[in-house]
Amino acid sequence: MKELLLTGNQAVAHAVRNSGVEVVSAYPITPSTPVVEEIAKMVERGEMNAKLILVESEHSAMSACIGASLGGVRAFTATSSHGLAYMHEMLHYAVNARTPVVMAVANRAIGPGWNIWADLSDSMSQRDVGWIQLYCESNQEIYDSIAMAYRVAEHEDVILPVMVCYDGFVLSHTSMPVKPDDLREFTGEYEPLWKVDFENPETHGNILPPDYFMELRYEICRSHAAALKIMERVEREFYETFSRRTPLIFESYRLDDADVAIVTAGAISSEAKIAVDSLREKGVRAGLLRIRCFRPLPSHRIVQALRDVERVYVFDRSVSVGSEGQIFQELRSAFYGFQSSPEICGYVVGLGGRDVTSEIFENAVTGRINSEWVMEVVV
């Protein structure tokens, strides 16, 4: 397959087409709009055999995807920022109704203080709704993640929706080489375990009294735990099929003998790798743990990977107001109760599209940044 120079949004559209998605419903919002524009062109040209449902809001877009998924087809949508926030109610619905919808989220800040630029606050605000969340660092990874997301979402031990998150503009509008492999065989035909069937009528979204509701939620939590095992399998199978390692849970970069570790998610991780190489050249044994899957959080695996390092530097491109960066919070609680735990420091960087350069990571590790909020663009 010939490599193409694609934007992150184009990579999503190509992957959606090549994964055999049958229903796409969406409402436009910067910076995810070009995903659906691209899909609309593909449908129009007859390259994609899907029904495109244009609706009046993101709330309806998600509702249409849930309906389509309950109808037994592969459904997809894309959104960002305010659009994702507006979907909030239906995000819960998609989880409890067990609809394996896949959604692309081009991460963007939420206003006012009107801002269209990269910030993970939109999807981080949805961390408790029950969606599986994947974060990407390159356009190839976005492409691969869409197909892998369907495999995980539709697995009988999971049956949960997945959002594939990638930094707005930094990835969504940046062109990079992408190998658009044929994904049809990898994703296969979608065979739903149940679907709306007019021959055998049943009620979906029915009342569930106190006697049953906890069991429903318990099973969802169990499915999240199971998802990690399924991800390992999908990771392996993806590599066997395409000879390309695309991690699903997390990526370790030069971590084996590291004294200090950087922990990030999203596009800034790629800059962090430059910092790791540069620090190693200067004699600092640095490594990177890049979180790919934030929900479910692979706590035990993270602790295993980081327990021998002395210091961990966590960089969040989002903040839980009133507390700290979300990854920082969760990393510290993952280490709770372990006897030997590294020192963990947290930084908030790159909100609302403020540029994040490799120098920021390097300066933090070498002790040249003494504020938890890195406001300056260090070049």
Binding site: F169, H173, S175, S358
Partner: protein
Amino acid sequence: MFDCYDLFDEVQLFYVMKWEIRLHGRGGQGVVTASKIIAEAAFAEGYQSQSIPFFGAERRGSPVTAFTRISEHEIRERSQIYHPDYLLILDPLVMRTVDVFQGLKSGGGVVISSPSAIERDVFPNIELTVGLVDGVGVSIRNDLVVAGNPVVNIPAIGAFLRIFPEISIECVEKIVLEKFGNRSVRALYSSYDETEVFRIRGSREKKKEERKKPEKVWIPASKPAKGVAGITGYWRDFRPVIDYGRCTGCLNCWIHCPEGSISRKNGDVEIDYTFCKGCLVCLAVCPRKAISSEREVSA
């Protein structure tokens, strides 16, 4: 005029096979497209490449920046470019509001699309290779005017190829032909031929870098003040001109001006050209057809 002298011995050679290119222009000139075409051409030549647009006001005429990275190896950078090897300046007007030369490496290359020569004191005090071309002229001569605006990105790429030998013009030709057709290919070649290439060491006084002081932002509100968006007159491609012989002072233009750039002074209507963005709404709404438009003479 130019103080050109042969600096061949002093010019640094780039041994690292990695180039960072920053593009400056104004909305509507095709800055983002130029960045992408260069990235695609480099990719077709076997390099890894990346094209990053930076979106700001997203309005025709406002300053736009884009970045292109070309490398023999995987490109891991995701940030903007602060120390470019090459600069493409699609419009000399941008230099008035943006410090386009900031961070440019010594020994680097600059493409400027300008109808007239650029004074030596405009360039920073480092060794540079410059490719100068009248992009607007090339565009007009090759019938490359879209919606009244001459497209200058293709001529700028033509000039760039003269100072960046890693990409062949044939390779760019293929991409341009597929995307924009024959006229653009002709513009590409005529720009390539017409570009004047010279070496120069500028004499610009080094500006003291102003460090932005941290500011408290309590609430997302801005006070109405003249010029908060900068000197927006530089965004203008067309200038509305009032024929006072026909103007009755009905103030219809004053009501409709979206920028508040029309005022009434001593009974006469007056346009403030410092801030008028040249949208020409006034021209459209004038009941006496007393307003006409003129092309801005750039730099």
